[in-house]
């Protein structure tokens, strides 16, 4: 769907379903240099099971024009503007990596708007290594290669994609290559600079699901301890033999966790 958010056109994937204000809404938020398509399976499921599923392209990503935003709070404000535009008075937010930080900040600032929050591959803070940041700043292809190397479990680096016929790491690499120049750096810098993660987590009032890939090298599992400690009402799903690309590496497990969480009381 095409929708004006804060006066500028944006794109959201809806599983070929029209937005229906009478249905509950679930917004999916992608990570750095990604787009809506990382949520294809999970968002499509909800779109065909009674929900408005909106997998957005953040500004400067995928089919949404403009420059990437420079900070997590700016991304969070955009998500709230998205809810206004849909319109969805209340929604559940599902975010991955940078998208998880944006969803976390939005939920903290607008507890009346967010019914549930799912954070995948997230930590607070979310520091990014100097070598990666520098490569991204140069728009050096090495940055994409480093992320590809760190984003999948060792066994998934060799394939075995649950989605028949797709080469998982090649697909992830190509998706990042299609991002706009400067987008990866803007995204990584926003993650690196975001200092309010633990404070935001403490302000969240809704139930939170945290999904952790136990072989995640982008956001190592041990880095999530602070986030887990700050969340009042949280449940944790740990996915063994799974890296940072949880939705691709374990699509069914992620969907099952989301479904149980979203549909549960």
């Amino acid at each position: 769907m095409r929708i004006k958010v804060a006066g500028r056109e944006a794109y959201g994937y809806t599983g070929a379903r029209a937005f229906d204000p009478s249905r509950p809404t679930l917004a999916f938020v992608h990570g750095a240099a990604n787009d809506h398509s990382v949520w294809a399976l999970q968002s499509r499921y909800f779109a065909h099971h009674g929900w408005n599923a909106v997998a957005v392209d953040l500004p400067g990503h995928g089919r949404t024009a403009g420059d990437p935003f420079a900070s997590v709070p700016a991304l969070a404000a955009w998500l709230v503007a998205l809810l206004d535009a849909l319109p969805a008075e209340r929604a559940a937010l599902v975010g991955h990596s940078m998208g998880a930080l944006a969803a976390l900040h939005a939920a903290a600032g607008h507890p009346e708007r967010v019914t549930k929050l799912a954070l995948l591959g997230a930590s607070a803070p979310m520091p990014v290594g100097g070598a990666l940041l520098e490569a991204a700043q140069r728009d050096d292809h090495l940055a994409f290669e480093l992320i590809t190397g760190w984003s999948y479990s060792p066994s998934d680096q060799l394939g075995g994609n649950p989605m028949p016929g797709l080469w998982m790491t090649g697909n992830g690499l190509r998706l990042m290559e299609r991002s706009r120049p400067g987008a990866l750096y803007a995204d990584l810098k926003a993650c690196h600079d975001y200092a309010d993660g633990l404070g935001a987590a403490a302000r969240v009032r809704c139930p939170v699901l945290v999904a952790i890939g136990e072989r995640d090298q982008m956001v190592p599992p041990q880095n999530t301890a602070g986030l887990l400690g700050a969340l009042a009402d949280r449940r944790v799903v740990r996915l063994s033999d799974c890296g940072h690309s949880l939705m691709a590496e374990a699509p069914d497990a992620v969907l099952d966790a989301l479904r149980d969480f979203v549909l549960g009381s």
Partner: protein, 435 residues
């Protein structure tokens, strides 16, 4: 300085797409010889049918053994995914019908495998798809042939049988300037010798019957998507590929280019192409091709080494009029081959004798180790006379334009001891020369 940690080509030939079987621990890829796969429950069944979950339904659409092969060739080519089909011809057909319908147009190299030429020149026009054939070396001819209704540029990495080297970089750039993809038949080169996506190609296919499987025991095709082409780029490709950019009534209104940013082509090809045309690969075939690919990085250097020895022998033989191998000084594509094919120009090439058609027949029939048959890319050495076999439906004028004469003989050099192959050729040449 940080370095990327990508797994190298030779390791991928053995491991990409496969992992030990979870159920049994089997190290070799199991042959999932099953037509269908059991659903966990009704919701799981519906979700699989509607592409809400990953998995298997029916082996015409996808099969776990075939999926390992699809991942492996994608990894070796540097693509995003692939579809295994019944033959190389099925791969070419699948690529075309996924992208276009009646009223569309293709620009193709004139130097093609005879079967590809048949499909484009004789069969597809009956379904409203026309092709203009051009000299693959003439970029202006490629450009001039593009029409508003053109949807695809197509060539072979090494033209069949004269080994014109396709300037993938320049033809791809031309295609992209017009908002069009470039499809490349990479059968002769395999990803060991060239990875066309690195030079700008958008889609690659193989007759896996040849060097990939490597032993002449199966028929199979592989169609690989590079994942870079933007099917909906404003001012370029937008509006040209409605099969990918508009809702498809045959799959719940899915817009494939929205469903997947990188693999829209593959989604449509699988969800419509193999579903409806049905040219799927059998799992046993996929297993045999996987066995072949495991030694691709060992076999291809030997194929090339043997070929170089034989090319050198033939090039200096007084009864041989010409040898068409791009590494030779006189070959017009020598510099291009050095750039695109630094590891070698494959193991299939043609030569012509200074003799009559009858002497050509004697030569072929005098060979003892080379097998006279219609195939290439076998571990065993092969020989054929294109004018009377693979290209016999091609008009004489077209044959001449493709550089094929009555005396042209095509070899596919295998993995035997090269001295035995040279002795075989020397003996047959002597017999032919005597007349």
């Amino acid at each position: 300085m940080a370095q990327s940690k990508g797994i190298r080509f030779d390791t991928l030939t053995l491991h990409a797409g496969a992992r030990p079987d979870v159920a049994t621990g089997a190290r070799a890829t199991p042959i999932y010889q099953s037509a269908s796969f059991v659903f966990r429950d009704s919701d799981h069944a519906a979700a699989l049918f509607n592409m809400e979950r990953a998995g298997y339904v029916y082996s015409r659409i996808a099969n776990p053994t075939c999926a390992v092969l699809e991942e492996r060739i994608s990894a070796l080519e540097g693509g995003v995914g692939a579809i295994a089909v019944a033959s190389g011809q099925a791969a070419l057909h699948l690529a075309i019908v996924t992208l276009m319908g009646a009223g569309s147009h293709i620009v193709a190299s004139r130097s093609l495998y005879g079967g590809s030429h048949n499909l484009l020149d004789f069969t597809l026009p009956r379904f409203g798809i026309e092709t203009t054939f051009v000299n693959p070396r003439d970029l202006d001819a490629w450009r001039a042939a593009i029409r508003p209704e053109t949807r695809l540029l197509f060539g072979e990495t090494l033209g069949n049988p004269r080994l014109e080297v396709l300037d993938v970089t320049r033809v791809a750039a031309l295609a992209h300037d017009h908002g069009l993809p470039l499809l490349v038949d990479s059968t002769f080169t395999t990803p060991y010798l060239m990875r066309p996506f690195e030079h700008g190609a958008d889609l690659v296919y193989h007759s896996a019957t040849k060097f990939l499987s490597g032993h002449g025991v199966v028929i199979g095709g592989l169609l690989v998507d590079g994942g870079r082409f933007d099917w909906d780029e404003p001012g370029k490709s937008a509006g040209k590929f409605p099969t990918l950019t508009e809702p498809y009534a045959g799959f719940h209104g899915m817009v494939f280019a929205e469903e997947s940013t990188t693999a829209a082509f593959l989604l449509r090809a699988r969800r419509e192409g193999v579903r409806d045309f049905g040219a799927c690969m059998a799992p046993m075939t996929a297993f045999q091709i996987l066995q072949g690919i495991e030694t691709l990085h060992v076999r291809m250097p030997r194929h090339v080494e043997n070929t170089r020895r034989i090319v050198a022998f033939l090039a200096s033989h007084p009864f041989v009029e010409s040898v068409g191998y791009p590494e030779l000084e006189q070959h017009p594509d020598r510099a291009l081959a050095a750039r695109l094919l630094p590891r070698g120009c494959g193991a299939v090439f043609s030569f012509a004798i200074r003799g009559t058609r009858e002497q050509g027949r004697k030569l072929i029939e005098g060979l003892r180790i080379f097998s006279h048959l219609a195939n290439v890319g076998d571990a065993k050495s092969l020989v054929i006379h294109p004018a009377s076999t693979t290209h016999f439906r091609v008009a004489t004028e077209e044959l001449r334009a493709a550089g094929i004469t009555e005396g042209t003989i095509r070899l596919s050099v295998g993995l035997e001891d090269p001295e035995d192959l040279i002795e075989d050729l020397a003996r047959a040449l002597r017999a032919a020369e005597k007349g």
